[in-house]
Symmetry: C2
Subunit: 456 residues, 2 copies
């Protein structure tokens, strides 16, 4: 009884003491990153010296070599490549779209346009009457009018959805499937409103896929200003548009995931993964998407080594080869994990921009979540709290090899992300140094806590 | 007993029902602002058509007229000017600083420099040996070395302070008082590290003041890159620098606070004030500081009128004439409130940038704070929570006429603010539309709750 009482009295104290130690160490991590962090300089190299890194491009291969060399220089226990086949979609030329006739009167009004990733070229200039629809419901209702026309989907973001990823999910289906939905009824081309609420006219590309049952028609995203104007005009009259795109596929490319590792001291066979993806679209520098996640991942390696942190678990820092137009990097990582019979306990992805961190979302059991949420007071001074649900496209496949692996994702503030996501504006100049570093601080703090206290 | 029991059972339901109504109305406010908000367009006008608005400048006067006309067009019950004398500091020319000699060898290295606001000109080019000190402690320790020299204070931001206003407070004292502290020991000029952790070289101006007991020597802020390099070189050798500034004062100017009002239906004599300041520094467009606060204030008026909201209390929307280099707008507003025997119950200021909103800080009694914090679940979907302590320089003087007035301030995310605060980079292009509007949403929600439920 006495022992039990002693335990009962001590328990809160122990939790407190543990919390204090953790908060001291997390402060040490934060001071190191905010004072000496290299993520911003690394991002400058990746974006300005290498540039856009579409899977299959020379830049993507350079980026992998750059990542490997830098993580070697950071003294990881080992750094290696995981060879991985990726698609090699080529834009092939300068995409073109224009309004050429309004109510029977010839005009010449170019539209800011980018072919959607994975879409095939138009085989020369095509022209057709525009059928502008608000959504798939309207397309279905007007399916008899589609044949021979170019369909425009007004896939504008709903501005009232405060978390912009919600609006992206709602409108994103038009980018993904709009072409085949329209081709089913005989459309010869598709245009969408860029998946963005930016008050500018830069078009936003991004992945689409074809349904093999229908003709593979060309598809472009229009700049937000042009798209809104086009939709308003189409409501009032008859418009003819032209478009020309050049997309095609080369044979799959030989790319690499880049993996650095610090061996665990207590549980070397239990693996914690941190990662982002190396590839980006071709039209920008992939600074936020996902240069930020790449250099934050590298920053965590640098910081743990700089602090001489000896993790209990094995920690892997992974630069995934291909997310944007294939998800081949994450699939390969999980495939090899299964093949090598690895035990993965936790994975954290950063692929939502290098903006100021707001939450760390975790996908786990309710009991685990309660436990993780006890860490919120330790994270809050650095801007985040722990919320339910999180992960990412690159670490997602780990769940298929072990449903118990805990997945998490850094959620930065989302207001600015879709202003530049997949557009030419996603460049280094639009990343803020402190915001980028602060994301790394919160990621490192979470990894430290998971490593120290486990996931159960 | 039965009645009491009934009350006990009903009370949570009543709170719930009230919360539901509030959440429905706040959603209505948010939808209106995010869909139809005009703050961003107004900010474009203020920054691009009017520009920088130093107190006493023609632009500041234009801005007041612009504000009055726009608030009249928004159908406020009344809109009026409060005449107010403000300082009229003039930069007077293009500030200059350079390194001209290193270890006895002549060089010619211009330094990015801006005279501090309120500082007086150098009366021609001055030259002296540089004494670079880390802080006031080092100045005091080396006071015998100061005479005839130009003192540099290395007032760099501490990067480990996560809330950047903390770093501003810590380093800001060098801008405010550095000149006179150095002049006391015979310095002929002062340079400081700009109050910024931006990874660039734009110098940041801002207010200073002289101690009348010592000579009024010229004072400049150096661009962060130049400042760091200068400090590093001064540690290693003897450096001579030149500087030339031109600051002077014109007689005080006739400016105006602009006040719009919606009369209260239940408590017309109890006033809620919302505001920001019209003036800015001369070197930029004052987009974040404090164009954002101005257009958010106007957005609240527009929104309440658009929704036909009939407030219980009288709500005032105030564009304060002068904050940056005198605080005369807020002082005049409080002076008139006292003179007119007004009862002020609550005031909210936005003067920390148009970035994504994080908290609404409130200065009030602990009991009031507990009550206000019950509103956090209503605000959290829009990004903020209620925290202790808040207000602002313009509404602060209200406290001197009634210590019970509750003061509050919008605190947006602070990571980017001091990158551009008082520098040429504080321009419209660096304001994000959604972030700006979302700030207005949270301000409007708080004002709605205060108006509906009072402050007690």
């Amino acid at each position: 009884m006495r022992r039990i009482l002693l335990f009962l009295f001590c328990a809160p104290f122990m939790v407190q003491a543990q919390g204090n130690n953790d908060s001291v160490y997390i402060k040490k991590i934060a001071d190191e990153i905010m004072s000496n962090g290299k993520a911003y300089d690394l991002l400058r190299q990746l974006t300005k010296q290498i540039g856009g890194r579409l899977a299959g491009s020379p830049q993507q291969q350079n980026a992998a070599i750059w990542g490997k060399r830098n993580m070697e220089a950071m003294n990881a226990d080992k750094v290696y490549m995981q060879p991985c086949k990726t698609p090699s979609w080529q834009r092939g030329g300068k995409d073109f779209a224009a309004v050429v006739n309004v109510n029977g009167k010839a005009v010449n009004q170019p539209l800011a346009a980018l072919a959607l990733g994975n879409s095939l070229g138009s085989n020369g200039l095509i022209e057709g009457e525009l059928l502008a629809v608000a959504n798939f419901d309207e397309l279905e209702a007007r399916k008899d009018e589609v044949k021979g026309k170019i369909v425009y989907f007004h896939s504008m973001f709903d501005p009232t959805i405060i978390q912009t990823f919600g609006a992206y999910g709602k409108s994103g289906v038009y980018r993904g499937t709009g072409a085949s939905r329209a081709a089913k009824y005989g459309a010869i081309g598709v245009m969408i409103h860029s998946l963005s609420s930016a008050p500018d006219n830069a078009p936003h590309t991004g992945a689409m896929s074809y349904d093999n049952n229908y003709p593979k028609i060309p598809a472009v995203a229009l700049g937000p200003n042009d798209a809104k104007e086009l939709y308003a005009r189409a409501k009032k009259g008859t418009i003819r548009v032209q478009m020309q795109t050049y997309g095609y596929f080369l044979p799959d490319a030989d790319e690499n995931n880049v993996v650095a590792e610090i061996k665990g001291s207590e549980f070397p066979n239990e693996i914690i993964t941190i990662g982002g993806h190396l590839d980006s679209w071709d039209v920008n520098e992939g600074a936020h998407d996902d240069g930020a996640g790449i250099v934050q991942t590298m920053e965590l390696l640098r910081t743990f080594k700089a602090l001489n942190y000896m993790p209990k678990h094995t920690i892997r820092f992974v630069l995934f080869a291909n997310e944007e137009n294939g998800g081949k990097g994450g699939a390969k990582y999980a495939e090899l994990a299964k093949l090598n019979n690895e035990k993965h306990v936790f994975a954290l992805e950063s692929d939502a921009g290098g903006f100021t961190p707001r939450t760390l979302g975790i996908t786990c059991s309710p009991a685990q979540l309660t436990r993780f949420q006890n860490w919120t007071p330790l994270l809050k001074p650095y801007g985040t709290e722990i919320t339910a649900g999180g992960g990412g496209a690159d670490i997602g496949p780990l769940k298929t090899i072990d449903p118990n692996v805990v997945l998490s994702g850094l959620s930065p503030d989302s207001q600015r992300y879709f202003d530049l996501h997949h557009a030419k504006t996603d460049v280094f100049e639009n990343v803020n140094k402190r915001e980028l570093l602060l994301g790394a601080v919160n990621m490192a703090a979470l990894i430290y806590l998971v490593d120290q206290h486990g996931v159960k």
